[in-house]
């Protein structure tokens, strides 16, 4: 059972539960510790080194994301030593990144955590590092692309693919400064176990993993996020439509911990939004006329027409001549209404749901 204890961060005495990490306690108390490789859903990797803090009794700086609290633990998150570490570490990251004309890591439509950090910390300016990642072959999949120049090798994508999705389509490959994110044999994602869920795109802190359909370098301020419910199935995942000038340019998952889907989406929810703005999209109900063509109708007309057809079958052949199948896109409530329509109105038990088989 978790035990309540107190720890001390930057001189503040804080309540913690055994089993928590220093980072969790700090976050809850609004003590800012930068992170790049951290994701609550994943085991701590401690590899980005951004969250290193001073822990009393430890000779070396230690990652807050992985350090368990203990009774009366004393932690410094902004001592001169920690600050010098952050400034130099960030300098190295920046020296290895694609920069804009202000010498800051480029912004991307998805944001760029490295840029945000660099804007908040006076970092050490270093000459740029020439360290091309191992190149990646052509990948014909329509949704996900990898831009190695923006990759900071936090391995959130590979760990997510393994620990959350249990798919393991991608892995760290090669070694040292050549380390890269690869598929087996550098094949395109369509030829791997990848399910194209796009989680790697969402967890990427710098926009290296990105959605092919989306514009890459739109200013995040120019994009509005609209929270909605995915209409592809009954689970009810929440989506953030990223809207620019009335158009959806990308779909992202709300942050983990906020909604039922906990930051996850499937390929349909994330990438199959092309119909929204498509020219062929149906915008009104249609009824097929005597001429064999479909003609625009109002909802009232269409519903009456359908009801008339269903009632006609029932009157001519009895209620069991009818069967009702609801779509996998229906919610629980809609499914309930369909079976009620079948049973109470049409007096038949011939009702099914297409996802039930």
């Amino acid at each position: 059972m978790a035990e309540t204890l107190t720890i001390h961060i930057d001189g503040r005495t804080l309540v913690a539960q055994s089993g928590e990490t220093v980072l969790q306690v700090a976050k809850r108390n609004h003590i800012a510790i930068p992170t790049l490789c951290h994701d609550e859903r994943l085991d701590a990797a401690g590899c980005c080194r951004a969250c290193l803090v001073e822990i009393d009794g430890q000779r070396r700086l230690q990652p807050a994301c992985n350090w368990p609290v203990s009774k009366e633990l004393r932690v410094q998150t902004s001592s001169p030593r920690v600050q010098r570490h952050r400034a130099t570490l960030l300098g190295l990251y920046v020296a290895d990144h694609r920069l804009d004309s202000d010498g800051l890591p480029v912004h991307t439509t998805q944001g760029n955590d490295l840029r945000s950090l660099a804007q908040g910390i006076e970092f050490k300016r270093l000459l740029s590092i020439d360290s091309p990642r191992h190149p990646r072959g052509v990948d014909a999949n329509p949704y996900i692309a990898y831009d190695p120049d923006l990759c900071i090798l936090c391995a959130r994508c590979t760990r997510y693919c393994d620990e959350v999705e249990a798919v393991s389509a991608i892995s760290l490959a090669w070694r040292g400064a050549e380390t890269s994110i690869a598929t087996a044999g550098d094949r395109g994602l369509l030829d791997t176990s990848c399910e194209l869920c796009g989680g790697c795109v969402d967890v990427c802190p710098t926009g290296a993993m990105h959605a092919k359909q989306a514009p890459r370098f739109e200013k995040p301020e120019a994009v509005q996020k609209v929270r909605t419910t995915c209409n592809f199935c009954g689970v009810g995942c929440q989506l953030d439509l990223n809207v620019q000038e009335g158009k959806i340019i990308q779909v992202t998952a709300p942050p983990p911990g906020e909604t039922v889907n906990d930051g996850n989406l499937c390929v349909k929810g994330r990438f199959a939004y092309g119909f929204v703005h498509h020219d062929d999209r149906l915008r009104t109900p249609k009824i097929r006329g005597a001429d064999g063509e479909l003609h625009d109708a109002t909802w009232d007309e269409a519903l009456h027409y359908a009801a008339k057809g269903l009632l006609g079958v029932r009157d001519r052949h009895g209620p069991h001549a009818l069967g009702f199948v609801s779509s996998s896109r229906c919610t629980n409530e809609e499914n309930y209404l369909v079976q009620k329509l079948a049973r109470a109105v049409f007096q038949t038990n011939n009702v099914h749901q297409c996802a039930a088989t």
């Binding site: 190295l92 070694r175 087996a184």
Partner: protein, 514 residues
């Protein structure tokens, strides 16, 4: 995530058996084992021996080999029509310039026995003596009982010989006291530190002492399975070790299971937690500590990991007592295997009191060749020291005081024909090449520092080195493991002790465009 039923542990050896991490081999291993294909690919590409062309002769590129003409050797071989490839280190610094053929056996020219001290039964390991297959130390240990053996280790003051110098008895006691009944003993025989070849020599000459030490350790910590992680290039040593195991497995080693697992060419796998990852069939990326291997190591179970030499000292401690072993040292306890190579007459492995000076060590090796200008006291990661330190005791504390370290006690001497700046460049390139790449301070820092030195060599302008100390500071503070923490020491130590060599530098043609 460990897939149910997936057989991850053997994948690296399976790839090796199939000639390396080709796409076809990776696909087949994934299918056979149930390990995701991308994981097999990612793990395979981590390792040099799985990426090499299996037809190639490997020519060592390490410091000791370079100063003895590695480049000429490669040139010669190429002219003879031999396909070659240069590699970071082969663990054959005493017979430099070194090369091994496709089957990982040394070429005849560098296949001489190493120099060691003559037979002296007073020495704990006694490399020059008859091979000791008596297993008397094991007998003594069994009579003493576990707690008494640990007490002897403590009295012996035995410090780990793998580099960190951690007191052995603390690890033994910690593993012994874990509540989990499943424990493992692992031998670190990955010996990869450039300048170091002592473990190789123990296995060649006294393999039974190592096995005996492992058996004592297993009895004390109540383990029955023993894993020896052996450097992949040590093919001959593997055969020796295997036959020593076969000879004793029904006798003194009965009841213990020995497994030899071949390393696949990654220096970082000498780091104990990277070694465990590699044993489990993964990329050799060091783990975060805590938890320490003594609590959660191989397969997440309490694990005792020791260097070859540390273990080979144990039989003598059990047999003749810890106090006697301790008395063999000077300011620190025990005898120590020192490797010496570079510009000396008889490179070799000499078992001497812990705390001898460089001059004493080199005297054993027949003296200096030429006029020495610098030395590296304990392998590439210990940096360079000036000859004014030639009488400093080569022990953990004394070298620590000058920002160097004893490390694996692989001393290398450079005389004044060597260009120290180029020597530094080679060492930096080694660490850059061997970085596992998981943490930014090491992955980026080691490359940044090497590229700064490139710029200095190309322009001759010492201003190119002005940010080196800051980056080196961060590599030391921010890196996960010892590799990154010391990877710029060759440069910073040289800049500190040889400032005159880092002034404005004439630009050589070779580096002008480099």
């Amino acid at each position: 995530m460990q897939r149910k039923g997936a057989q991850r542990e053997g994948i690296l050896q399976q790839l090796a058996d199939m000639g390396g991490a080709s796409t076809a081999a990776v696909a087949q291993v994934a299918k056979q084992t149930g390990v995701p294909e991308a994981d097999v690919w990612g793990a395979g590409l981590f390792y040099g021996l799985l990426r090499r062309d299996p037809q190639n002769t490997l020519v060592c590129n390490g410091l000791s080999c370079r100063i003895q003409g590695a480049e000429q050797l490669r040139h010669q071989l190429t002219e003879q029509g031999v396909a070659t490839q240069s590699v970071a280190c082969l663990g054959l610094c005493d017979v430099a310039p070194a090369a091994v053929g496709p089957a990982l056996l040394p070429l005849p020219a560098c296949d001489q026995p190493a120099h060691v001290l003559p037979n002296n039964p007073d020495l704990p390991i006694n490399l020059g003596g008859e091979r000791d297959r008596s297993y008397r130390g094991l007998g003594a240990a069994l009579k003493l009982g576990a707690d008494a053996v640990i007490a002897e280790l403590q009295a012996a003051g035995l410090q780990g010989r793998g580099g960190a110098g951690f007191p052995a008895h603390l690890k033994w006691r910690s593993v012994r006291n874990q509540t989990d009944p499943t424990r493992y003993v692992v031998c670190n025989a990955d010996e990869g530190e450039p300048g170091t070849f002592k473990d190789r020599e123990v296995i060649r000459r006294q393999p039974d002492k190592l096995l005996e030490g492992l058996a004592i350790a297993a009895h004390v910590v109540q383990a029955t399975e023993i894993y020896i992680y052996l450097r992949g290039e040590f093919e001959r040593e593997r055969r020796i070790l295997q036959s020593a195991i076969d000879d004793a497995c029904h006798g003194p080693l009965a009841g213990l299971q020995f497994h030899i697992v071949r390393g696949q060419g990654a220096y970082v796998c000498g780091e104990e937690t990277a070694l465990l990852e590699s044993l489990e069939g993964r990329r050799g990326m060091p783990r975060l500590k805590p938890p320490f291997p003594t609590e959660r190591g191989f397969r997440n179970k309490p694990t005792l990991i020791h260097n070859v030499e540390t273990l080979a000292c144990v039989p003598d401690i059990a047999l003749r007592g810890g106090v006697r072993f301790a008395s063999l040292g000077r300011r620190e306890p025990g005898a120590k295997l020192y490797c010496i190579s570079g510009h000396v007459q008889r490179p070799g492995v000499y078992e001497l009191p812990l705390g001898v000076s460089l001059d004493e060590l080199v005297a054993c090796a027949g003296g200096y060749v030429g006029t020495p200008q610098a030395f590296s006291p304990g392998g590439a990661s210990s940096g360079f020291l000036p000859m004014s330190e030639r009488s400093r005791p080569l022990d953990f504390a004394s070298l620590g005081q000058v920002g160097a370290m004893l490390g694996s006690a692989g001393a290398v001497v450079l005389n004044d024909t060597a260009d120290l700046v180029l020597a530094v460049h080679w060492q930096l390139s080694f660490f850059e090449h061997e970085s596992c790449g998981q943490c930014a301070p090491c992955r980026l820092g080691s490359r940044w520092v090497r590229q700064a030195l490139d710029r200095y060599l190309a322009s001759g302008d010492p201003g190119e080195l002005s940010d080196v100390l800051d980056v080196a500071w961060e590599m030391n503070e921010g890196s996960i493991c010892g590799l990154g923490q010391v990877a710029s020491l060759p440069l910073t130590s040289a800049m500190q002790h040889f400032p005159e060599q880092f002034g404005r530098r004439p630009v050589t043609q070779e580096h002008h465009h480099g």
